[in-house]
Structure formats: structure tokens, C-alpha cells
């Protein structure tokens, strides 16, 4: 979707806060929110792509102004309401109006050490050979999926070169709609001068990981 989240190359944003303190959390509630997400029981099939799409759909002003972990809260709350895990009223009050039947006990602290090494993989057995070869020129498609997509606006219509392929990976556009459909994933390199009218450094490059259906031969 052409949403507020698709920020690459947008202009008008100010300087970076390079003096930010090094500590991982700056507010107690931020740490709490991260811990909640790592600890809570999942009672609905929420994929990483669905999470990202629900975050992208946060109202634009909120997306740009609310702190990062507050956006996590908003996203998890929306997924819970959508999946029937909680109501808006329950999330507002913090009081449960209805129990969830048949729920397994939540994660206990003794399970955390092992869980830190849980590593999700997104590569899948390939069903078709890659359409493009390393070194081949490709052009990113102008049109992108109106739902979730990982094809940013700033490369659409631009010409790049395939620098690697990674076999088949879960395709986010389908995954965010509840369907796991693997597709070949490539790394594609774009010259800065191809992307930005003001770019002058001939050697500068931007690399993106793009799925096959985002690309045409150039």
C-alpha cells in the first residue's frame, strides 16, 4: 500500500538525534512493552507480515508522532480486537470481560533463556527456478499490491541489477493476507544516480531485497 510508512527518500524530515543515550530503553513502559510482546501467548495466527501491515494502517498522524513501542501497543491491540482476543473496552480498562476457553498457561521465566535462541527462518523449498540471473538488469514494477507489500515507492519504475538470489522466501504480499506462498527473492542494486535527481556520487548504491513478482526484465 502507498502508506505513510513507506518513508524511503521522503523529504522534509529534520536532523537525526545523534546524541541519544546508549541505554536500550529510555522509558520503563518501553521495556515493558517489549517484554510483553516476547512473553504473551499467541492465540491467533499472527505472521510478521500481518503485524507489519497492521502497523502500516495506524492513522498517519499517529504513525509519525507516536513513539515506536507505543506503535507496537497500538498494533497488538488492533490485532487482538480483529482476532476476537479482546475488545476495545477491555483494552481501555485493563479488565477482562470474558475468559478465553482452553488457553494453555503463558510462558514462564525459566523458558526465556532457551527462547532467546529461537530463530525464525523464512526460506522455503523452491518450486520454480529463478527467472533472473545474477548480473541481469531488471526494472522494479510501477504498480504494487494495494495491501501489504515490501516494494518501496522510491524504486518503482527504476532500473537496477540483480546481485544475488536467495532461493524462495515467504512472499509478504500473500503472507499478510493469510496465505503462505514462497517466491524467489533477489538482492537488487540501484545506482543512487538512477534513484535521485540530485545524486552526484557515481559509485553510491542502494541495495534492496525484492521478490520476483516485483521485477521485470529491463
Amino acid at each position: 500500500m502507498d502508506g505513510i510508512h513507506d518513508l524511503g527518500g521522503r523529504q522534509g524530515y529534520g536532523p537525526i538525534d545523534v546524541g541519544e543515550p546508549e541505554e536500550p530503553f529510555h522509558e520503563a513502559w518501553e521495556a515493558r512493552m517489549l517484554g510483553i510482546v516476547r512473553s504473551m501467548s499467541r492465540v491467533a495466527p499472527w505472521s510478521i507480515d500481518w503485524f507489519r501491515h497492521v502497523r502500516e494502517l495506524i492513522e498517519p498522524v499517529d504513525y509519525l508522532t507516536r513513539p515506536y513501542y507505543d506503535q507496537w501497543l497500538q498494533t497488538y491491540a488492533a490485532m487482538m480486537v480483529n482476532s476476537g482476543v479482546a475488545t476495545v473496552g477491555e483494552l481501555a480498562s485493563g479488565k477482562s470481560a470474558a475468559a478465553i476457553p482452553g488457553l494453555a498457561p503463558p510462558m514462564t521465566p525459566d523458558k526465556v533463556a532457551a527462547a532467546t535462541r529461537n530463530t525464525a527462518r523464512f526460506d522455503r523449498p523452491a518450486t520454480e527456478p529463478p527467472r533472473f540471473t545474477v548480473g541481469e538488469a531488471v526494472r522494479a514494477r510501477i504498480d504494487a499490491n494495494p495491501g501489504h507489500t515490501r516494494l518501496p515507492q522510491y524504486v518503482r519504475g527504476r532500473r537496477g541489477e540483480v546481485t544475488a538470489h536467495h532461493g524462495a522466501h515467504v512472499f509478504p504480499d500473500a503472507s499478510a493476507a493469510g496465505e503462505e506462498r514462497p517466491e524467489t527473492l533477489y538482492t537488487v542494486c540501484f545506482a543512487a544516480t538512477e534513484l535521485w535527481p540530485e545524486a552526484t556520487a557515481a559509485g553510491d548504491r542502494v541495495y534492496l531485497d525484492l521478490w520476483e513478482s516485483y521485477l521485470d526484465a529491463a
Partner: protein, 216 residues
């Protein structure tokens, strides 16, 4: 729409905006209370995760990976060929480490990591990302004005050095292998690891010459 409808979610976001408590701390408190009441959360587990990400999983891990690569050419070759396998050797596999690609700085190349579409980050080796990494400003500017961003971080990269920006648009996660600074010949891996900053592994720092950071 199998529970994946964008319009439904947009409507839920509006409802939540109108009805949740006004402060983020209060919203998080309400969420935690609700999850505990529903039997979906043990607060002691939340404490344990916070401790892990405060004490254990952070940029010290990445610095150990870099120092090992600087002192062990075979490890460096394995790290550049398959980042995930190499960090697993050190016990640093985990969250967002399933497809790690390590990109190497050289005298002619500088690498910079960003996620323009959300905030993807190699958590299992670098821990919790800084807030600035997740801001609209960094996400917007890193791909378009990397030299301007680097200048704000105190790094003036000459045009003779090519900048490669890696936008984490899929499940590959990127980490920069900085250049080993001159004047560190004979240093052991532990001494070298102390030189390696989080920003150097994101790519917003380049020169790790001993003492340079202390002056700033």
C-alpha cells in the same frame, strides 16, 4: 477476507485511538493487566525478557563477532559467506538472526544499514535498536542522503569512497563489518571488541581509531 481486511483494521485503529488511555505508559499498563487477567501473560516473564535485553543481548555481541573476524581470517571468511552460521558458532543466533548478511567496509567502500518500510534490525547481535534508527527522519534520509546523515554522526566520507546503503526490505538482516583501525596491531580480541561501537555496525560510524570517540 479471512480476518485480514485493511479497512477493518483502519476502523479498529480509529476506535482504539478514541478509547485507550491518553498516555503510552497507561496504555501499556492496561494491556499488561488485561493479558494477565486473561491468562495470557506472566509478569515475571516480562521482567526476565527486559533483563535479557538490558544485560545480555546487545551490541557487545556484535563487537565480539567483529573482533573475532579481525583476528581470525577463517572465521571472517565464514562470517561473510553465511552470517547466520557464523554467529550460531558463537551462540548469538536468535531473534532476527535467521538470514544474517554481514557487509564489509574497505578503504573504498562504506556500508550503511536502514529499514525504510519499518524498523528491521539484527536484534540477536545488536540488541535493541536506538530510537533514531526507527525515526521517520533516518528511514527517509538514509537511502537518499547517506552522506548528509553520516556527516551528522561526525563522519565526512569523501566521494572517493562509495557508499552502499542496505534497505532491509525482506527477512535478510544486515550488519556492517567495520575496518580494523590502524595502530591496533598485536591487540587481542577482547581489547579490539572494546573499540567496536553499535553505530559502526549499523554504519553511522566509520573510523574506529582508538581515542577518536573519546574526543567527541
Amino acid at each position: 477476507m479471512s480476518g485480514h481486511d485493511s479497512h477493518t483494521i483502519a476502523h479498529i485503529h480509529e476506535e482504539l485511538h478514541s478509547h485507550l488511555p491518553p498516555e503510552p505508559a497507561l496504555r501499556v499498563k492496561a494491556l499488561e493487566s488485561l493479558l494477565v487477567e486473561k491468562g495470557m501473560l506472566d509478569p515475571a516473564t516480562v521482567d526476565a525478557w527486559i533483563e535479557v535485553f538490558t544485560e545480555e543481548i546487545g551490541p557487545k555481541r556484535g563487537a565480539a563477532v567483529v573482533a573475532r573476524a579481525w583476528t581470525d581470517p577463517d572465521f571472517k571468511a565464514r562470517l561473510l559467506a553465511d552470517g547466520t552460521a557464523a554467529i550460531t558458532e558463537l551462540g548469538f543466533d536468535g531473534w532476527a538472526g535467521g538470514h544474517l548478511k554481514v557487509v564489509e567496509n574497505t578503504p573504498d567502500v562504506h556500508n550503511l544499514i536502514v529499514c525504510t518500510l519499518c524498523s528491521c534490525y539484527p536484534h540477536s547481535v545488536l540488541g535493541i535498536p536506538p530510537n533514531w534508527y526507527k525515526t521517520a527522519a533516518y528511514r527517509a534520509r538514509a537511502v537518499r542522503d547517506p552522506r548528509g546523515v553520516l556527516a551528522e554522526f561526525g563522519e565526512d566520507v569523501p566521494e572517493s569512497v562509495a557508499i552502499r546503503v542496505w534497505d532491509s526490505t525482506a527477512e535478510l538482516r544486515y550488519m556492517v563489518l567495520p575496518e580494523r583501525p590502524a595502530g591496533t596491531e598485536g591487540w587481542d580480541a577482547a581489547e579490539l571488541a572494546d573499540l567496536v561501537t553499535r553505530n559502526a555496525m549499523i554504519g553511522t560510524a566509520r573510523d574506529l581509531t582508538p581515542g577518536k570517540g573519546e574526543a567527541g
